[in-house]
């Protein structure tokens, strides 16, 4: 029997980016908020110590900051004809754990999606005709526009102090910025990062090829910055230990460096760490959440009653908790009915290697940062004519090499032996003069009828709950697009002066063992009505109106950018709707 805790106005499941932002907004609105976080508390000086945080073995190879598969895992298969097996060591994506969530270990690439990304289905249909899209592609419009989200993108960027160069300021195209971006109401809060030699050379070559290169928008700050909450971030030292790592000197935008210091001072906020939510509880009608049940680290079960439940866990676990709580209808890929688990997507990343003459080029690759880089957007979204190409989608292309770390950043030319003195010599010869960028083409993955999430019939977690099952594979559309983008990237490497270029386009089948990105999306998407979505445009559950589901779970498909900027913007958008509409009149904000 669960111990029943005192009632709260709001219970938040997961204290990552969205949980922190929502907690701050709703405590500002005067509500009593509790956040329940599965992982430990983490703070900079205690957990991301400058003396040891740059430890590739500990953090990258041994996954120090991540969820342990023994705590909870997922099962994986490429298609419905296979039997899914559990993931026993994370590969294709990484799952954050603890206060700050994935916001701790991200690279901090802070992008906005294109205006046409939000109206994708209608835009593509209008431009190319409905028959142009693959039969089984299930993309759809988001139900909101870029313009609606713009103030909230702005809020997230100013919270983070994002370093970048505006490309479209109030409609005026800005030199040096991304000319394809949507209209932004004001410049980035801080100027772009300084760029390394390899990044600069890429921009020069891209420009010579007629593209318009611009610095990647970065949450590793170019200079110190105090955000609107009064929290100060430091200047990035370009140490090259961002993704997989906590930042030791307060220069990466994370919940720890932007929101949590303010949240912790509030008497109407409480966080419980190392507590795992088992399920969202519903009343007898099944249409109203009464709170959550969670288990602490001693195994004791508690019930936390609340008026409002915010599901702010990672995308996969949002979907899993909905399914375990019996909220919404499970998606059936055969009929297309049901919304929970539907339109699951990931990202299509590809890249390549450029080997340069070691006597002429020294890129000093270890001087880097998670979101450093020069990019072009000519091949993203629908910025280019897909008509003759026979595919849709795209991504940004860039020299976005984040590090020169000793274990993994060890590319050698393809004809080199895999070990021994010749390998060592080749590594010595190439380490400083190689552009090694596995995610140079950061492209979309659109959604398909047969890519989805449901509960595994066989494998269970340590609490006896079924694991979430991923059914996912790349489709021809994405593989074609990836080959096209990778060719474009290789042309730029060639133009930079590489003596040898190795293309690494994305190839099927989807491989869960090798890292791609952690940008999993969808599974409980937002939309205009309960027949096409699990959530309304304010991220409110159609089925349980006092439940809001945050994060990339709501993306109907993934665009050709890193998702966190849009996740943050949606959190502010949803918070605004809760504060200005829901609290005045709790109930459905959109009537189906």
């Amino acid at each position: 029997m669960a111990l029943k805790l005192p009632h709260k106005d709001v219970v938040i499941i997961g204290l990552g980016w969205t949980g922190s932002i929502l907690a701050n907004e709703l405590t500002d609105a005067g509500l009593d908020v509790i956040a329940i976080e599965r992982g430990p508390w983490r703070d900079t000086a205690t957990d991301f110590l400058i003396s040891y945080v740059q430890d590739e073995l500990r953090y990258r190879i041994q996954h120090e900051l991540f969820l342990r598969p023994s705590q909870i895992s997922v099962t994986f298969r490429n298609n419905g004809n296979q039997t899914a097996l559990p993931v026993r060591s994370w590969g294709a994506f990484m799952l954050g754990n603890g206060a700050g969530g994935a916001g701790v270990h991200w690279n901090a690439e802070t992008w906005r999606f294109l205006p046409t990304d939000f109206t994708l289905k209608s835009h593509l249909t209008q431009r190319y005709g409905a028959g142009f899209l693959p039969q089984d592609m299930t993309i759809q419009d988001w139900g909101i526009t870029y313009d609606q989200l713009e103030p909230h993108y702005d809020a997230f960027e100013y919270l983070c102090g994002t370093s970048g160069q505006a490309g479209n300021l109030k409609g005026a195209i800005q030199t040096g910025g991304n000319p394809f971006e949507g209209v932004r109401s004001r410049p980035y809060p801080t100027p772009p990062m300084k760029q390394g030699y390899g990044h600069t050379l890429f921009a020069q070559a891209a420009q010579e090829l007629g593209y318009k290169p611009f610095p990647q928008p970065s949450g590793n700050l170019s200079q110190s910055y105090t955000n609107p909450l009064g929290v100060t971030l430091g200047q990035c030292t370009y140490c090259g230990f961002c993704e997989w790592f906590g930042c030791a000197n307060y220069s990466k935008a994370t919940p720890q460096t932007t929101v949590l210091p303010v949240l912790l001072r509030k008497s109407n906020f409480e966080a419980r760490t190392e507590c795992e939510v088992m399920r969202i509880n519903l009343d007898s009608t099944g249409k109203r959440a009464t709170g959550v049940t969670f288990v602490d680290s001693s195994g004791t079960e508690f019930e936390q009653p609340a008026d409002l439940v915010l599901l702010c866990a990672f995308q996969l676990f949002n979907v899993q908790l909905l399914l375990m709580s019996g909220i919404g209808k499970l998606y059936d890929p055969n009929t297309g009915q049901g919304q929970i688990g539907r339109n699951f997507s990931h990202q299509t990343v590809s890249g390549g290697l450029g080997f340069f003459d070691k006597d002429k080029y020294n890129f000093n690759p270890f001087v880097s940062a998670g979101a450093i880089g020069m990019c072009i957007d000519e091949f993203n979204g629908d910025n280019f004519d897909h008509g003759p190409l026979g595919f849709v989608g795209g991504g940004y292309i860039g020299q976005v090499q984040t590090n020169g770390r000793p274990i993994e950043t060890t590319a050698v030319p393809p004809d080199t032996p895999a070990w021994g003195p010749k390998w060592k010599q080749a590594l010595r010869d190439n380490y400083l003069s190689t552009i090694n960028c596995g995610a140079a083409c950061h492209a979309s993955m659109y959604s398909y009828r047969d890519v989805y999430l449901d509960l595994d019939p066989t494998y269970k977690d340590r609490f006896g709950r079924p694991l979430l099952r991923m059914t996912i594979d790349f489709h021809d559309n994405e593989l074609k697009m990836s080959a096209y983008l990778t060719d474009k990237y290789a042309e730029i490497l060639q133009k930079m002066g590489a003596k040898q270029v190795v293309k690494q386009p994305r190839r099927g089948p989807y491989d869960v063992t090798a890292y791609q990105t952690s940008h999993l999306c969808g599974g409980a998407i937002m939309g205009t009505n309960p027949d096409n979505s699990a959530l309304n445009i304010y991220l409110q559950s159609w089925d349980v109106p006092n439940l809001f589901v945050q994060g990339a779970t709501a993306f109907p498909q993934n665009a050709g950018y890193n998702p966190t900027g849009t996740v943050g913007a949606l959190a502010f958008w949803s918070a605004h709707a809760i504060r200005t509409q829901y609290l005045k009149n709790p109930g459905p904000l959109v009537h189906a």
Partner: protein, 421 residues
């Protein structure tokens, strides 16, 4: 252990008290409906930081006492000063209250331990003392008996305090200096009276009394060194403007420094809640305090060993420069500047060793909520390495302070191991 309050002062043996408090009738002056007076009294309890001792953190009962107070002579427990008639001071007359505050005399002739800063509060005007009383009358009475006297023999003998007072206590209200501005005098009143800055920042003799000849020149207590806050250019506030001091006292941070340690609590409970005018007055007064014979010394007599400096530079580059930068200047509001820092250059290195060995969390305030923290290095640097990097920091970029030895580091390490706070 954050709920323990520490004071440097206490006192010892002597002869029998000769004077007794007057238990007269209440003097006119308190009007429970005079809300201006109540509010002024409230403000003065903030300036006087009364809550630091008289409120047990986390108890939820303001001024109900019970907080342990560490002194070099043992632990005292702060009394209940709520209006409860039996366990608090509700039955006290106003004169008894004023005498306790300004003369160190309790009821029935007992004497207060000078952990209660009556040596400073004596400068309060009677009006201000009554305003404090008026505020304390207005707060909820809490029934909370506190056994104050828990000092070991011979310090348990309160009668000895009369001798201490004879030797070290000069009663008397504040006298403005007609040659100084009104602002200066306001600052002097606050700093030397209710604010009792010297309680931590003035060196003490072996009986725990202020060395008045070295006023505000710094004092080691409770694992820290409360730094010199005279206008000394190197070790004091000489390099800070009045605005820098105000920003520090208001927010805990200014462009070069951040408050931590014992000052964090003072900031939270007291200075951050004071008016800008009063903080400026205090700053003006402190900026006018001469550093005495130690003023503006530029070079240490004992230049550091070059091999030690070289080792220190290497450790600094590896462990410190990521935040404090190669030039030691750090980053405003985030990483304190070591370059020109008075705290770094105090003759007594207790604070810098404390911060390096154990780390430190800077204070969070509403205007500066970030609270950046210094990680601890005790586990990764040995005594020689700490000595080298601290010596390097104390003698680079124009800094100058005596080199630190491995045995000083060892001693501080040991002291910190024994401290639970």
């Amino acid at each position: 252990m954050r709920d323990k309050k520490h004071w440097p002062l206490a006192c010892v043996f002597g002869t029998i008290a000769l004077c007794l408090p007057l238990a007269g009738a209440d003097a006119a002056g308190i009007d429970s409906q005079n809300f201006g007076q109540v509010e002024r009294g409230h403000y003065l309890t903030v300036v006087g930081d009364c809550a630091a001792c008289h409120t047990l953190p986390g108890s939820g009962h303001a001024f109900a006492g019970g907080r342990p107070i560490e002194t070099p002579f043992g632990t005292l427990f702060a009394p209940n000063i709520t209006p409860d008639p039996t366990t608090g001071i509700g039955a006290w007359t106003d004169d008894e209250f004023v005498n306790a505050l300004t003369k160190g005399t309790g009821r029935n002739g007992t004497r207060l331990y000078p952990a209660m800063p009556y040596t400073y509060y004596t400068r309060l005007t009677r009006d201000d003392a009554l305003a404090i009383r008026s505020y304390l009358n207005s707060i909820p009475a809490v029934d909370n008996p506190v056994q104050v006297d828990q000092l070991p023999f011979p310090f348990s003998m309160r009668w000895t305090l009369a001798v201490w007072d004879q030797l070290f206590f000069t009663p008397g209200t504040f006298h403005p200096d007609p040659n100084k501005s009104a602002e200066w005098n306001r600052g002097a009143y606050l700093a030397e009276g209710p604010g009792h800055c010297g309680m931590c920042h003035t060196p003490k003799n072996f009986l725990g009394a202020d060395e008045t000849s070295q006023k505000l020149q710094g004092y080691a207590l409770q694992g820290w060194f409360a730094p010199n806050i005279t206008d000394d250019a190197r070790r004091g506030l000489g390099g800070w403007s009045v605005d820098d001091i105000v920003a520090y006292l208001k927010t805990g941070h200014n462009k070069t420094s951040a408050a931590t340690g014992l000052m964090s609590e003072t900031l939270n409970l007291s200075t951050s809640k004071m008016s800008d005018e009063d903080l400026k007055a205090i700053a003006v007064y402190l900026k006018d305090q001469s550093a005495g014979g130690n003023a503006n010394k530029t070079a240490s007599a004992d230049p550091p060993d070059q091999a030690v400096m070289k080792a220190g530079a290497q450790i600094y580059a590896d462990e410190c420069a990521g935040c404090h930068a190669a030039d030691g200047k750090g980053e405003a509001r985030l990483f304190p500047s070591l370059n020109g820092s008075p705290v770094v250059q105090q003759t007594d290195p207790t604070t810098i060793l404390h911060v390096v060995l154990r780390g430190a969390l800077s204070v969070a305030t509403k205007p500066a909520p970030t609270a950046p923290a210094m990680p601890q290095f005790a586990w990764i640097l040995n005594d020689d390495e700490v000595a080298a990097v601290v010596t390097y920091i104390r003698n680079s970029w124009g800094n100058s302070a005596p080199p630190v030895t491995a045995s000083q580091v060892e001693k501080t390490r040991q002291m910190l191991l024994e401290r639970s706070d």
